[in-house]
């Protein structure tokens, strides 16, 4: 880990009054979102509520039409320290045209650190650690196209972890992921949080990640509907429409088959 930057107490992500449009449709309509140092924040909401756009705005991939974004206390315009950020995009089924091994994909997460230098011993060790953390070290030489959805997601997470980021940003890390992989993911995330990382993640359901989450931000129609601690989310009397937004693991008996969902 790096030495904390000057002004170390600034939030790692600070999004204020964020507006964004996709095409002609306003998708974010004045969102405030703050992730403090060491905090784990989940973004929840129905499809089309703007949660993926909010995350992509937070990494500067969706331009804001108004509002402000600061990463580690620096306005996005001047932010260059991308090696502090680990990004896990929504898993796509579109494969690249040329095969790549698990280790090759994970190693590309190390580029922010080694830049133009060849991969050194420290870099290889970090890649190996990331692979072990998600339980994919045994598959390092396999082609990523031969993996299941859950395994592929674990590789994308390892790629982000290989850069030893201080902030992890994940878009739907549980989507299409089997239960065994969800637990591996929760363990990996717990490990990161324990070593001081901050996390912002988009979720459809909290699943095995629930105990890790400090704060949930529920979006609806491009606005923050409410901010809650995770246990408050599952009070249907208080928020009757929750059942369509989140599926509390406690409410629905789950059969843990370990099969692909």
């Amino acid at each position: 880990m790096d030495v904390p930057a000057p002004g170390g107490s600034a939030p790692v992500i600070s999004l204020r009054g964020a507006h964004a449009v996709l095409g002609a449709r306003p998708v974010l309509r004045g969102i405030d979102l703050t992730v403090g140092r060491g905090e784990v924040v989940a973004l929840l909401g129905a499809n089309g509520s703007g949660k993926s756009t909010a995350v992509r705005a937070a990494i500067g991939r969706v331009p804001l039409t108004s509002g402000e974004l600061e990463l580690f206390g620096t306005p996005l315009r001047r932010f260059r320290d991308w090696r502090r950020v680990g990004y896990v995009p929504q898993r796509s089924t579109a494969a690249a045209g040329v095969p790549a091994t698990v280790r090759e994909v994970v190693s590309s997460g190390r580029l922010a650190r080694h830049r133009l230098r060849p991969l050194g011993r420290t870099d290889r060790a970090a890649v190996q650690r990331a692979l072990e953390l998600v339980g994919m070290a045994g598959r390092a030489k396999d082609s990523v196209s031969a993996l299941s959805g859950g395994q592929h997601q674990r590789v994308l997470i390892a790629r982000a972890l290989a850069g030893e980021p201080e902030l992890l940003i994940m878009d739907e890390p549980l989507a299409g992921v089997d239960l065994a992989s969800q637990h591996v993911l929760a363990d990996a995330l717990r490990d990161q949080v324990a070593s001081g990382a901050s996390v912002l993640l988009v979720l459809h359901e909290l699943g095995p990640l629930a105990p890790l989450i400090d704060r949930s931000v529920v979006l609806r129609d491009g606005r923050v509907e409410r901010v809650a601690r995770p246990e408050q989310l599952h009070d249907p009397a208080c928020h009757p429409h929750d059942s369509e937004v989140v599926h509390p693991a406690s409410a629905v008996p789950r059969i843990e088959t370990g099969q692909l969902s």
């Binding site: 990494i59 991939r61 260059r80 320290d81 991308w82 090696r83 950020v85 990004y87 995009p89 690249a96 045209g97 040329v98 095969p99 790549a100 091994t101 280790r103 090759e104 994909v105 190693s107 590309s108 997460g109 580029l111 922010a112 133009l116 991969l119 045994g138 030489k141 396999d142 082609s143 031969a146 790629r159 850069g163 940003i169």
Partner: protein, 292 residues
């Protein structure tokens, strides 16, 4: 086999074939990786305008072709960034504009006719002149320096562009560099296989290799090996059999592709058996004997 090296023109031809055989798949692999296998073909069309310009200005066509096709490749990249709805239409305009421009300019040149473009279109490796060799050597080395020296960066950009941006890589710069490198490769390969067949040497060795590989580095190594093999052996065959070298090289490459395609089921089966041996406890293909 030795007498072929007694001729200076064949020495130059073999050197050019060797360099193109190495360089074309080395840049082609990135285009294939991001599903732009046909990009080399488009640049080849644009390069025709450059060749015709060289004829009109009575300068070495290699250099005018490099300039025009590099400008075209940059334009293609810009269309990819800023193009609104129909990027493919913009590309078609560029490709066919390049071809028509070439035919127009060559006919405006004093004493020029469309026939003068045929050499560029179908290649003529045996007429590589001494001053062409210098250009081919310099440009191939530049292409290889980019494709091998920046392979991790280019791999990341072509594998997942959005992730590469968040990593802080200069994605636009790398994309432009790749486009210009592809353009340079097209013009280098122009003399060997011809503009209409350049794309084949960039794509087919990669397509052939990836049938039996699992990783990017191995695919890169194998496709460069296959590219060199077909380029050099095609040139030799064309010398003895008195057939056109460009077509011979491409047909050989397709033959290699087919041979590896026939091999693929064997490789896959052996891998499955080995995986079953390694991962029997995980329950994968547990019918296979462990350690088999």
């Amino acid at each position: 086999m030795i007498e072929i090296l007694d001729y200076a023109f064949m020495q130059r031809a073999l050197l050019a074939a060797l360099l193109v055989g190495v360089a074309a798949p080395a840049v082609g692999i990135y285009l294939v990786q991001r599903h732009q296998a046909i990009m080399g073909d488009g640049i080849g069309h644009i390069a025709l305008t450059g060749v015709a310009l060289g004829f009109l200005l009575s300068t070495n066509a290699v250099w005018t072709a490099v300039l025009v096709s590099a400008a075209g490749a940059v334009a293609i990249e810009l269309v990819r960034w800023y193009g609104k709805a129909r990027g493919d239409i913009a590309l078609a305009l560029l490709f066919y504009g390049g071809m028509a421009g070439g035919v127009m300019i060559i006919n405006l040149a004093p004493g020029g006719s469309t026939a003068d473009l045929l050499t560029a279109m179908f290649g003529s490796v045996t007429t590589v002149a001494a001053e062409d060799v210098t250009a081919v050597v310099l440009l191939s080395c530049a292409v290889l320096a980019v494709c091998l020296g920046l392979r991790r960066q280019l791999f990341a950009v072509c594998q997942d562009e959005e992730f590469a941006r968040v990593t802080g890589l200069p994605v636009r710069l790398l994309n432009l560099l790749l486009a210009v490198t592809a353009a340079v490769t097209v013009t280098v390969a122009m003399r060997v296989v011809g503009l209409l067949l350049v794309s084949a040497l960039m794509v087919i060795p990669v397509a052939a290799a990836q049938q039996v590989t699992r990783g990017f580095a191995v695919t890169l190594g194998l496709s460069v090996t296959l590219g060199t093999l077909v380029a050099v052996s095609g040139t030799v065959v064309s010398f003895y059999a008195d057939v056109p070298p460009g077509a011979t090289i491409v047909l050989l490459a397709i033959a290699v592709f087919a041979a590896l395609a026939a091999l693929t089921p064997l490789v896959t089966r052996r891998r499955a058996v080995r995986a079953a041996g390694d991962e029997a406890p995980a329950g994968l293909l547990s019918r296979e004997p462990a350690g088999g």
